[in-house]
């Protein structure tokens, strides 16, 4: 789609900075790791931003059978370019179906057909509860964020939820300022009871992929670092979260991006570096 582009940020990993063919940025590692998590999944509801590129990479690599569902109304989208927005015309041309948003949210999502809801977040807590509404008080926000969009109902009705976001003291917080999308609430046991009582279809968050590593959720419903990206350190992980990190033993190291994964990101999916900067 356009000229190959060097990695947008300083290369990390077990390669020297002078080796552009295999060097990769933190953002690229995050997108690749998130895409790989979709192996074996069938129907994925694609959120705006980082999920968009991760899901499209998955479709071209580990999950060719993946059906992309966009809240704008496209089912089985086969975008010929990376859509900047989730309402881009490229998700329409060649899609299996284009339906009204009423049908999409009622029949596809609330009807239980979505295996994975892929979300981004401004803030997340240790139980995977997500804030994308405000920083500060709702009535007098310090920062007004976009709000739910479809995230709230996706978190409740998708069979499971994947999250991709950059990790920082501001985003990985002890207490989120506003709960836009429910995760494991105050812990796995209470969350399971409430989900069953209230008839939620979803089992909640199962994966969080950041620029430093991959987290899954342990039996208590809390995030656990299962894999550290090459070049990232446990110290960096601890410095960028607002709670005491749980770390798997043994801790895995995320396999580095393959040349093909990097080529797809740089040449095909994000030639302008909109997501990887």
């Amino acid at each position: 789609m356009s000229e190959p582009r060097p990695a947008a940020t300083a290369p990390v990993g077990a390669v020297s900075p002078g080796a552009p063919a295999s060097a990769f940025s933190r953002s690229e590692m995050m997108i690749v790791a998130a895409a790989r998590e979709l192996a074996g999944q069938r129907v994925c509801f694609v959120g705006v931003g980082l999920p968009n590129i991760a899901v499209n990479l998955a479709r071209l690599t580990v999950a060719p059978e993946l059906e992309l569902v966009y809240e704008s109304g496209a089912y089985g989208a086969k975008p010929a370019r990376l859509p900047l927005s989730i309402g881009d015309p490229t998700i329409v041309t060649g899609a299996t179906a284009v339906v009204s948003m009423f049908e999409l949210f009622s029949f596809y999502l609330q009807g239980g057909l979505v295996d994975v809801g892929f979300l981004g977040a401004a803030q997340i807590d240790r139980f995977g509860n997500i804030n994308s509404t405000v920083i500060g008080e709702y009535e007098h926000p310090k920062t007004r964020l976009p709000g739910s969009g479809g995230a709230c109902e996706i978190a409740i009705n998708a069979r499971q939820v994947f999250v991709i976001m950059r990790q920082s003291k501001r985003s990985f917080v002890d207490r989120i300022d506003f709960r836009t999308s429910p995760g494991n609430l105050g812990g796995a046991e209470a969350a399971a009871r409430i989900r069953s009582e209230e008839g939620w279809l979803g089992s909640g968050p199962s994966v969080v992929v950041t620029d430093l590593g991959i987290y899954h959720f342990d039996e208590s419903g809390e995030m656990r670092l299962d894999s550290l990206h090459p070049g990232a350190t446990l110290e960096q992980v601890r410095e960028t979260m607002g709670w005491q990190a749980r770390v798997a033993e043994p801790l895995a190291v995320t396999p580095t991006p393959t040349p093909e994964e990097l080529r797809l990101i740089r040449e095909q999916l994000d030639p302008e570096g909109a997501y990887t900067k």
Binding site: V48, V92, S100, F105, T133, L145, A151, C152, F178, T180
Partner: protein, 305 residues
């Protein structure tokens, strides 16, 4: 009887100070031409409803036409925030802006209830979130058939809904393709409907493909023919989304002064959409042409005598 009117006349006749206005279209088919005419006519105290306020409501809020926003996702899609709206919300600059916030499904449900003359729309959302606290109009209700609780949202019935579409006939029978958003629901829910089209067609064109009709002229008050009226949003098959402008707006809207200068130049400074398109220039317009054609197959409805 033809309902074809100029944008100026359609807005003057159908949009009044204090109205609830919905210019719908999810990324696709957002009628910026109508929004700009509302700004030029200096309407005031509007309640603006849209799932995604997008740049159009950022511009309208910056121009001072709105007192309140009803919405579900407040951002510049793929780019970042809506700065003019954020100034009003975060700093009350130059005045506060009232917000009434839902999720996408909640907004779609509100239009659906409005269009269907129902007192509420039930949905499985909002459980264990702070949204019902932020907006007390989102309320839990018990199922009359069991113990289940779901959430309800109230009907939304705009005074006027504006729908941009590929084509309509002079009576307002309207056809569109590509992303359909919730224009059908928003139109049926509204007291008055303005349809803005890329192309005015004969009734025979509509009747040749009745499955593509989203709503009939029965509910339409005015038909405006305004090619390129959705720019910088897009029209499937006609022109692409102007992503460059969506990125440029991020810089323009960061300061009140640059925002007003843009409004002066591109909204108050032109008489209407055709002058805006001229100003945009042939090169920019040509750059937004789709890179190729992808016609649908045709179907045979059959003749039954």
């Amino acid at each position: 009887m033809s309902k074809v009117k100029s944008m100026r006349d359609a807005v003057a006749a159908n949009v009044h100070d204090g109205d609830v206005v919905a210019i719908e279209g999810f990324t696709h088919l957002i009628c910026f031409a109508a929004g700009h005419e509302i700004i030029r006519q200096r309407k005031r105290d509007l309640t603006l409803a849209r799932l995604t306020p997008d740049l159009i409501y950022d511009q309208m809020v910056a121009a001072g036409v709105a007192r309140k926003l009803v919405f579900s996702w407040l951002g510049n899609p793929g780019v970042g925030g809506l700065h003019a709206i954020r100034r009003r919300v975060e700093d009350a600059d130059p005045a506060p802006l009232e917000l009434e916030e839902y999720s996408h499904f909640g907004m779609v449900g509100r239009y659906t209830a409005g269009a269907s003359n129902l007192p509420f729309f039930p949905l499985r959302s909002y459980f264990e979130t702070d949204l019902p606290k932020a907006n007390p109009l989102i309320r839990p209700i018990k199922s009359p058939y069991g113990d289940e609780t779901v959430y309800a949202v109230p009907p939304l019935k705009p005074d006027v809904t504006v729908v941009h579409a590929q084509r309509a006939d002079a009576d307002g029978n309207t056809q569109m393709w590509g992303l359909l958003g919730c224009q059908k629901e928003a139109a049926f829910a509204a007291e008055r409907v303005i349809v803005v089209v890329e192309e005015l067609v004969d009734e025979a064109v509509i009747r040749a493909d009745p499955n593509r009709t989203v709503f009939p002229g029965l509910i339409v008050d005015a038909v405006v023919v305004e090619p390129f009226g959705a720019h910088p949003s897009y029209v499937q098959g006609a022109y692409d989304r102007d992503n460059r402008f969506y990125r440029d707006w991020d810089a323009i809207a960061r300061e009140a002064a640059t925002t007003q200068a843009w409004l002066d130049e591109w909204v108050y400074g032109v008489s209407g959409r055709s002058e805006y398109v001229d100003k945009l220039g042939a090169e920019r317009v040509a750059s937004l042409k789709p890179s190729g054609e992808a016609p649908s197959g045709s179907v045979d409805y059959g003749v039954y005598k």
